[in-house]
């Protein structure tokens, strides 16, 4: 009897601690039967999506470790990856060499943009998220300036399949047909009718291992110290500003790689829109997995990417079946993505305030006790 109530309490706590993932499990459980998709189709889709998105989401973990919140500036890395891909597509380098070259080529752009982002964020401590969000908009403007006006005019772009007919600027979509799914197809295995892109998963696994290892290094420890308390870290002799910049640069570089993996799976690059939503979807997926603004693990990433994309696959057809209008489901999934981020942000801020006020109360009690001692 007692055991049972204990179990019940534990269950209640589990629900209380993870409201977002549980809500998503419920949404998926309702939507999957209604949508009418076959299990093998769902399996295939979810494996593809987990493969192409995990790497991008993992890059969010490092700034969270350094206490800089959700890195909306990962869009910068995505843009760097896209610029690299445009060059590689123009140079007509196909297949795996093309992907590898694009990754290498994206590093200088990522480092440059990441340093810029980190430096700006150091001037806006405590407001990192809104600032990184605005940076992504600002750099999007610079990206358009470069890609739409400078490429082909100042920066040499030869191939006419990439260039706009007017002679400069890049087309709305750049076809990556020659490297389409080349990572996914190499070493792929068919299992239960679903294609498993083993190489992509190996890359994701390597990144996971890297993150686990990185947490234990000196730099990783420094980052965690900075994330805990900047003042204490500074007193301990850690170069806070530099550590923060490094964490953003690492995140940006990884986001660039992630974007290249993502786009080789998609097979074409929407030059002016591929990156604009990617930050939002990745952050939403991470939060669905139960992460919060100041705490996220690798487990959160995989749970999140699974649940979020399951919802993404089934929502449109479920909406169409229930209301008879396919747009409802489309809007529903967009709404859910935003709502999840909103709820997670609100929960984080209220928790932070509670902590602050309880710390204040403790301090007051301590002072009162000390005064009493004096008397």
């Amino acid at each position: 009897m007692k055991n049972e109530t204990n179990l019940f309490k534990k269950l209640l706590r589990l629900i209380g601690d993870n409201p977002v993932p549980i809500m998503f499990v419920l949404i998926c459980l309702v939507c999957i039967p209604v949508s009418g998709f076959s299990p093998s189709y769902l399996l295939n889709e979810i494996i593809t999506r987990v493969g192409r998105n995990s790497f991008l989401i993992l890059c969010l973990l490092i700034p969270i470790m350094a206490g800089m919140g959700l890195n909306f500036g990962m869009t910068l890395g995505a843009m760097a990856g896209e610029i690299a891909l445009i060059f590689v597509a123009d140079w007509q380098i196909y297949g795996i060499p093309g992907v590898v070259l694009a990754m290498i080529l994206s590093i200088p752009f990522s480092v440059l943009l990441g340093t810029l982002c980190g430096k700006i964020l150091n001037r806006a401590k405590g407001k990192e998220m809104i600032t990184s969000y605005m940076i992504s908009f600002f750099v999007n403007g610079l990206y358009q300036l470069v890609v739409l006006y400078m490429m082909g005019a100042i920066i040499p772009i030869k191939h006419s399949s990439v260039k706009l007919p007017r002679g400069y600027g890049i087309r709305n979509t750049v076809s990556l047909k020659n490297m389409r799914q080349c990572l996914d197809n190499l070493l792929s295995v068919n299992l239960f009718g679903a294609k498993i892109p083993v190489l992509t998963f190996i890359l994701v696994a390597i990144l996971c291992l890297f993150i686990v290892w990185f947490r234990k290094t000196k730099l990783g420890q420094d980052m965690r110290a900075v994330g805990q308390d900047m003042q204490v870290a500074k007193d301990a002799g850690i170069n806070v500003e530099r550590t923060r910049v490094i964490s953003i640069v690492m995140s940006t570089v990884l986001a660039g790689f992630g974007m290249i993996i993502y786009l080789q799976n998609m097979g074409n690059l929407s030059t002016y829109s591929s990156h604009s939503q990617i930050g939002m979807f990745c952050i939403a997926a991470l939060l669905v997995g139960g992460a919060s603004v100041d705490r996220a693990s690798i487990g959160n990433v995989f749970l999140g990417v699974f649940l979020f994309h399951m919802m993404f696959i089934v929502a449109p057809s479920t909406g169409a079946k229930i209301t008879g209008d396919s747009m409802i489901g489309e809007y529903f999934r967009v709404f859910v993505s935003y709502a999840v981020i909103t709820v997670a942000l609100i929960m984080y801020e209220t928790k932070k305030r509670k902590k602050k006020s309880s710390a204040g109360k403790e301090l007051a009690a301590q002072q009162a006790a000390e005064e009493a001692e004096h008397e």
């Binding site: 407001k127 935003y338 709502a339 942000l345």
Partner: protein, 358 residues
């Protein structure tokens, strides 16, 4: 000789002080706009037409920018949640049309009908912002996004029937853009319009803005208004002086939301169309950057900031396409707008002296 140099130094220091208080980015933007106005006649654009356009757009947008003022005063920061108020306005607009009001009456009914929505949504939004002090701006952004995407579903599902608004084929679900012809198209801009050749002044919308701006100015000088400013500039001190800080913040959010609702209606009467679905999504950003360009900061804003900022921002938006187009034969205006407006917001967020309170 010595006296003269010291005098010169003084003047130099004063100029430097003026530049500092005015802000370098603002100076650059104002200079850029001036350059555009000067360049306009040389590239074949009519100066007066350009000025008319700028004034028109000023009339459309000024109230949305004015909506920023109360929340900045009460310490809630920049209202990135403006879309919430815009949605109240859209609800008012569509309801007014649905109920069959036409002409100028439909405009006043739209304002009237949107008011309860603005009050209720504003109260909820204000209550939320009171619980998350310090993180207002990020959460406001996402409250705006969530509400817009939620309303996307609602526009499809709500039982609207007016044939002027729903999709022709299915007979249900609102269209993405609804023409206001026969309703309140140009109801303010056309009112008492003064025309001198190519130059015209949209007196009605300017007067309407002046009325609201004056009301806002007067309100900020009442007892409640002063209390609101106190709550923003030093919450601890205000609390000690007997001001209910949370109530002041709530009031400011409700005011801001209502002004946004009225603002979008004024925008629509000038533009001639109601835009639904994803249209309000990024509408907060132009308003935010306009007030910042006008000299406001994250915690300080005046009516003058609103007027200067809206004029500069809209000036750049209207001038760059025509002037740039005729100068280099490409339309770079959109890119310039993105860089200028978002750069301005970034500049305001990263200033160390102000805005670093939390």
């Amino acid at each position: 000789m010595n006296a003269k140099t010291s005098e010169e130094k003084k003047v130099g220091a004063r100029i430097r002080g003026m530049i500092e208080s005015f802000g370098l980015p603002r100076l650059i933007i104002a200079g850029f706009l001036l350059l555009l106005f000067i360049a306009a006649p040389f590239v074949g654009a009519n100066f007066f037409t350009q000025l008319t356009n700028t004034l028109n757009r000023f009339g459309w947008n000024a109230i949305l920018v004015l909506a920023m003022v109360p929340m900045i005063h009460s310490g809630c920061g920049l209202n990135f949640g403006l879309p919430l108020g815009i949605i109240s306005g859209l609800l008012g607009a569509t309801l007014s049309i649905e109920l069959g009001f036409t002409g100028a009456l439909s405009f006043f009914m739209a304002i009237l009908l949107s008011t309860p929505f603005a009050l209720v949504l504003g109260c909820g939004y204000g209550w939320l912002l009171n619980r998350i002090k310090g993180g207002e701006m990020m959460i406001a952004t996402y409250v705006g996004f969530s509400s817009v995407s939620f309303m996307c579903m609602m526009w499809l599902l709500l039982p609207y029937h007016s044939p002027n608004m729903v999709w022709g084929l299915s007979g249900k679900g609102l269209r993405t853009t609804i023409s206001l012809e026969g309703y309140y198209d140009q109801v303010l801009s056309g009112f008492l319009q003064i025309k001198i050749g190519d130059f015209s002044i949209p007196t009605g919308s300017l007067l309407f803005f002046a009325l609201l701006a004056f009301a806002m100015w007067a309100f900020l000088h009442t007892k409640t208004g002063t209390a609101m400013t106190a709550a923003g500039s030093n919450p601890v001190f205000a609390k000690a002086a007997g001001v209910n800080v949370d109530k002041m913040r709530l009031l400011s959010v409700v005011m801001s939301t209502w002004l946004a609702a009225v603002g979008i209606l004024v925008y629509e009467q000038g533009f001639g169309f109601v835009q639904l679905y994803m249209a309000p999504f990024y509408m907060a950003l132009p308003a935010v950057s306009a007030i910042l360009i006008g000299g406001a900061s994250v915690n300080k804003a005046t009516i003058t900031n609103v007027i200067i900022g809206t004029f500069l921002y809209q000036g750049i938006v209207t001038m760059t396409p025509t002037v740039m187009n005729s100068m280099i034969h490409t339309d770079m205006s959109e890119v310039i707008r993105i860089i200028v407006s978002n750069g301005m917001i970034l500049y305001a967020l990263t200033r160390k002296t102000e805005g670093s309170k939390s």
